[in-house]
Symmetry: C2
Subunit: 267 residues, 2 copies
Amino acid sequence: MRTIKLTIAYDGTDFNGWQSQPKGRTIQQTLEGALSRIHDRDISVVAAGRTDAGVHATGQVAAFRSDRDSIPIDRFAHAINSLLPLDVRVLRAEVVRDDFHARFDATCRTYEYHVLPAEHLHPTRRRYTWRVHFHPNIARLNQMCLAVIGEHDFASFAGTGGDTSTTIRRVYQASWRAERDELIFHIAASGFLWRMVRSLVGTMIGFERDRTALEQFEVVRDACNREAAGESAPARGLYLCRVEYPSEYGATEGDREGVGDGGGTTG
Amino acid sequence: MRTIKLTIAYDGTDFNGWQSQPKGRTIQQTLEGALSRIHDRDISVVAAGRTDAGVHATGQVAAFRSDRDSIPIDRFAHAINSLLPLDVRVLRAEVVRDDFHARFDATCRTYEYHVLPAEHLHPTRRRYTWRVHFHPNIARLNQMCLAVIGEHDFASFAGTGGDTSTTIRRVYQASWRAERDELIFHIAASGFLWRMVRSLVGTMIGFERDRTALEQFEVVRDACNREAAGESAPARGLYLCRVEYPSEYGATEGDREGVGDGGGTTG
């Protein structure tokens, strides 16, 4: 019996989010279906983050208990992928400590958000970026990030419906960069409130669109009230890129599969 | 009555290529359908290049004759886009000389081909790149490009079924660059044989996979025989990026719409 940690990528476009539910196709159900076939019994996975409908991942993490000790760990990713549809892939499978918990043990999560300033939609990127009709100033966006970095109460940026007891989170990194013709927001934190990244992006881009004074951004944050912030940016621009864990859970080098291929790291 | 030149982008994934045909959805039929609604009569368009099923475009060009002189040219792109599905967009509309022919008057066409070296498929890029299981050496790929640049008989790289009288073409530029985790092939030529870009890419990547001696690349080219070359790379990695015309056809600045947004240029 082993606990196996999977690093997973998916195109969220045609999924109704991560979490299993009665209606619609979900990533959790799709993955559990493949794992259940391999194990000849029902397998449940626990994910680091339950992404919403339309959100993508390049480094989601999910773990499960496996009694298929006969399958070498370096064959696991290929075995699962052979049973998955093309819009979800396992990038890496590793054996971890038995008490590993993908959600509660994560110490840092990294998201990216892709904004495309363009007059017309670009068809090949319509599922993967938020197109805006003007050119936001990246220096001003990065100024706003200074009010995001650090430990703050992010209640202004929390979607209603979240289930956490506190709205305080610690943000380690937050910045915007230009890449090709896109603007990419990168944020790493101990954890995120529901819709926090999309609320932050929607508010920052709204500040740029309306040419709101930058000092107001801290005012919005300190209001601790969702009404103070702007609308959420759409799901399609958001990617869960990486989840990190303390090294004591980590896989040894020999357990790794596909190193250098995916976006995930282990602590 | 005006002749209008459109610069068009599309996601080729869900199209059965450019050209109208009895079966399947095509870009030509989709675009002509929108134009015919605007004009209240059947409109036919002529494209610079009839891309195959699955091939994308960021700067395809198509032209047609319009008697809707009441629509300002700078509103045309928005008017057409309001009637098009999201996987095809008009980026720019310009008035050109009445005798403009999108195919025969083009002096240079530019394509790009995206290769993704990765062990596992990346779900968000499965429609837009060719994934290969090894890491091609970009210096060696660029060495092979030296045998592509210039005027040559490209019969070895011509798909059977093409309808041209000569297999000689002049290639102005051919090079590979690394961008993010992809390798991108860029090629500009007076014209292309059917499947020429995909045959060149398939052969070059095959040379890398099999570690074939670089000198053999010229041997393949000079064989003037399709059997000598490698298999064609898949359609999904190919983009028609730009089509250029002599300046005498060109739109004046005042006629342009959406400058700076798309990938097209006018001569």
